[in-house]
């Protein structure tokens, strides 16, 4: 049986109880901004993305995998961009793109899983927090759906119930409500399941009616998974659905071996998809309220390894795209000579970056970020 008919058939289930709706009340005011976090899963090679093109040390450390001056896209006298990201050049030239250098933290952890936890909870390296760094923004929102994870490892730690994880699925219009029993249980796990079913139904009611609609943009989105996820996001925003927080993810950027082709393909997919997202949001008048920001657990080792790849490192450059971003370079590119055990020494605390993103979006800055700096982008 085809999956499609399988789903269709199940939609006819007599047991299904339809959840009450309150979608009509949740129209967004245009004053709300939206922050789209883009996770470069696995740890993007920052040095081959935003390249310190005048540094001899860069070419010496990477005799086989450095991006050559001939092909790199010059952004400034000292900085070049990977050629696979050419579709983001217009954003850079029009002042819609900020690049923040040297993002990291003290006592860097080189484990994917611990380091992404540090990033996602905005903790110290030796501090274990359970709430995500955006959870207050999400909880303070009055939107019934204040955070949508389209893809990537969800910031599960967003906290509250007013969020939904599409887990990469862009075919939500095929979904139908699931059965929610009346009553509750002595077993907390069963209550968790009941709550999640209810939340699923509420989310589906909101989202699927929108996703059923046809929206066409002048720009074409790539046919890749990430491209289609960006399209879904653009479509929802075009229809006026604008939660404070989105999460997108792609990768694996964990390029331990033969990284030239794989990194190129990933950056190409990412850049063309985000460029399409930008154009689509400009077209429908939503770009001014939008901020797109990349992040990941760490950058990669300065020197290449013998497998033509790079191992886990520390600091990295990231980018911010948005209609009211002040374009340009922020923070300092770390030295490629003064290294910590082969790795970059960070120059900009990642929580400065977070605080600046919140400020750009006019979100409240939580007390935990009070002591950090605004970067000014």
């Amino acid at each position: 049986m085809e999956r499609r008919s399988f789903l269709k058939a199940s939609a006819a289930l007599p047991l299904v109880a339809f959840a009450p709706l309150n979608w009509a009340n949740s129209t967004n005011q245009l004053s709300t901004n939206t922050l789209i976090m883009v996770q470069l899963g696995g740890g993007n090679d920052g040095l081959n993305t935003f390249i310190p093109i005048t540094e001899e040390a860069y070419f010496n450390a990477r005799p086989n995998i450095a991006i050559s001056k001939d092909v790199a896209l010059d952004l400034s006298a000292q900085l070049a961009m990977h050629p696979a990201m050419s579709s983001l050049l217009p954003a850079w030239q029009q002042g819609d793109m900020a690049i923040v250098h040297g993002l990291g933290y003290t006592q860097p952890n080189r484990s994917h899983f611990r380091s992404i936890e540090i990033w996602q909870t905005a903790s110290e390296a030796d501090e274990y927090l359970s709430a995500g760094w955006l959870s207050e923004v999400v909880q303070q929102s009055e939107e019934p759906l204040a955070a949508i994870t389209v893809s990537g490892s969800p910031m599960a730690t967003f906290g509250a119930g007013n969020q939904f994880n599409l887990a990469g699925q862009t075919n939500l219009d095929q979904f139908s409500p699931v059965y929610v029993p009346n009553g509750s249980s002595d077993n907390e796990l069963l209550n968790f399941i009941i709550g999640n079913r209810q939340q699923f139904n509420n989310s589906v009611e909101q989202l699927s009616s929108l996703l059923e609609q046809q929206v066409e943009f002048a720009v074409e989105f790539p046919n890749s998974e990430f491209g289609q996820q960006c399209f879904t996001l653009a479509k929802l925003m075009a229809l006026g659905f604008v939660p404070p927080v989105w999460h997108l993810g792609l990768g694996s950027f964990d390029t331990h071996s033969n990284q030239i082709t794989s990194h190129q393909n990933l950056l190409d997919d990412m850049a063309t998809s985000l460029a399409a997202l930008r154009e689509a949001l400009i077209e429908v008048g939503q770009w001014q309220r939008t901020c797109i920001a990349s992040y990941c657990e760490f950058g990669r080792r300065v020197a290449e390894n013998a497998s033509l790849g790079t191992d886990h490192g520390t600091a990295a450059s990231h980018f911010v795209l948005g209609g009211n971003v002040s374009g340009g370079e922020f923070g300092e590119m770390p030295s490629l000579i003064d290294l910590d055990n082969g790795d970059l020494k960070y120059t900009t605390d990642f929580r400065d970056y977070y605080k600046s993103l919140l400020s750009l979006s006019d979100f409240n800055v939580p007390a935990s970020l009070a002591a950090f700096e605004y970067l000014g982008f």
């Binding site: 029993p181 069963l190 999640n196 033969n258």
Partner: protein, 413 residues
């Protein structure tokens, strides 16, 4: 530790669901005379693995040398479909389901993905290692994994050379496979990466090979011990680190008990594990005898594999089509051989989230409606690990069965 009292049918059903996917009529009957926990555990752990066959291409892999790149891709795609179908058939039909449960456990511990490894016969070899050695000695299993071609490809050791070693396997070996984060230094990883150089894979055949010229045979200092370590003696060195036994016991606890390992109890089981010389049977026996295991009924969300395999096994039905199995497990978030990353599937409550909820619930609905004409029969004791929200006491007709399986209680184990 639990005292040996007479087992109730509900306790037997709990044990069978957790270890063998379901408390089917057959298994309930087979274990009826086992009156104590010790006897039941012994019944499970003493069972030798049943007979099974491999896909034709496993013993004699097709020669891909003369094919074009596109042809090669097609052959591999077909093989990888057959690989998934092969495991699905074993999961649902094997007479020794506990070995399949263990294979799922090890697949989610010593993680590799076919998306990177690309060679179905190499992935099958790793999968069969879990079946054949998964209930044996942990040190031996670890030693085998360090020479397992799928692992060496997946974590890039196959291309690691002494002049600039690749750290990927060394790091995940300590962080995720043996000691846990925080129980080693960055220096240990760099030295371990040196020790692992040379452990590689023959490109032509996909077999393990030690490339002497790529190996750094100098002294390395790992965990404060200095020797010319190589892939041959690392398992020995690693398992004797104090955090190894507790780390492995914790992983078993998360799979077979619940999401809240109790440190003091983990320590006791870990000591048994160490005293046995790292026998996995000794670990499991201690774990299954723990009161925490018996109190954990209904405290775990079923994994997609547990949900689907358990459902088919409960009613002794033939398997799904390969295509259905693939799309169901993919949509529910557990496509076997394609774990999300080297840490495997997060599991626990994360299984019951957002989009996956729809696919889990529509699977149940579809299953009952497809099969109700074949007279599905079971009891709440066998089927449900928790009291249903709908307060069903018995299941006497197909609408009660539908109610029981649509209940949140069916989503837990």
């Amino acid at each position: 530790m639990a005292s040996d009292t007479t087992l109730t049918p509900a306790e037997r059903a709990h044990f069978l669901r957790r270890t063998c996917f379901s408390a089917s009529d057959d298994l309930m009957l087979e274990t009826e005379a086992l009156t104590s926990k010790a006897l039941l555990i012994d019944w499970l752990l003493a069972k030798p693995i049943g007979n099974y066959t491999y896909p034709d291409w496993y013993q004699s892999p097709p020669n891909l040398q003369d094919l074009s790149q596109d042809e090669r891709k097609t052959v591999r795609r077909d093989m990888s479909k057959e690989l998934l179908a092969w495991w699905q058939a074993l999961l649902i039909q094997s007479d020794t389901p506990f070995y399949e449960q263990l294979s799922v456990f090890w697949h989610n511990h010593f993680v590799s993905s076919i998306q990177k490894v690309k060679l179905p016969n190499v992935m099958l070899k790793q999968n069969d290692l879990f079946r054949q050695q998964g209930l044996g000695n942990f040190k031996s299993l670890l030693a085998s994994i360090l020479k397992d071609p799928a692992m060496l490809i997946y974590l890039d050791n196959a291309s690691s050379k002494k002049d600039s070693p690749n750290e990927n396997l060394a790091r995940e070996l300590l962080e995720l496979f043996t000691l846990g984060e925080g129980n080693y230094t960055e220096f240990d990883i760099k030295e371990l990466a040196r020790a692992l150089t040379g452990a590689s894979v023959k490109r032509r055949t996909g077999e393990y090979i030690f490339k002497k010229r790529w190996h750094d045979d100098g002294d390395k200092t790992i965990f404060g011990e200095t020797a010319s370590f190589s892939v041959e003696n690392l398992a020995e060195l690693i398992v004797k680190q104090p955090s190894c036994a507790t780390f492995i016991v914790t992983k078993f606890w998360l799979h077979f008990v619940d999401s809240n390992p109790i440190e003091s109890e983990v320590d006791i089981i870990a000591q048994t594990f160490v005293d046995s010389g790292f026998e996995i049977k000794a670990l499991l026996e201690a774990l299954f005898l723990s009161d925490f295991f018996w109190q954990s009924q209904g405290q775990q969300v079923k994994s997609p594999v547990q949900l689907i395999v358990g459902t088919y096994r409960q009613f002794n039905l033939a398997s799904l089509t390969d295509r259905q199995w693939r799309s169901l497990t993919k949509n529910m978030g557990q496509l076997l051989f394609v774990p999300p990353n080297v840490k495997g599937w997060p599991g626990g409550k994360a299984w019951y989230a957002s989009a996956a909820i729809f696919y889990r619930e529509s699977f149940i609905d579809q299953f009952v409606r497809w099969h109700q004409s074949s007279g599905l029969q079971t009891s709440t004791t066998q089927l449900l690990a928790a009291q249903s929200v709908a307060s069903l006491d018995e299941i006497s007709n197909s609408s009660e069965l539908m109610l029981a399986m649509a209940d949140p209680a069916y989503q837990v184990i």
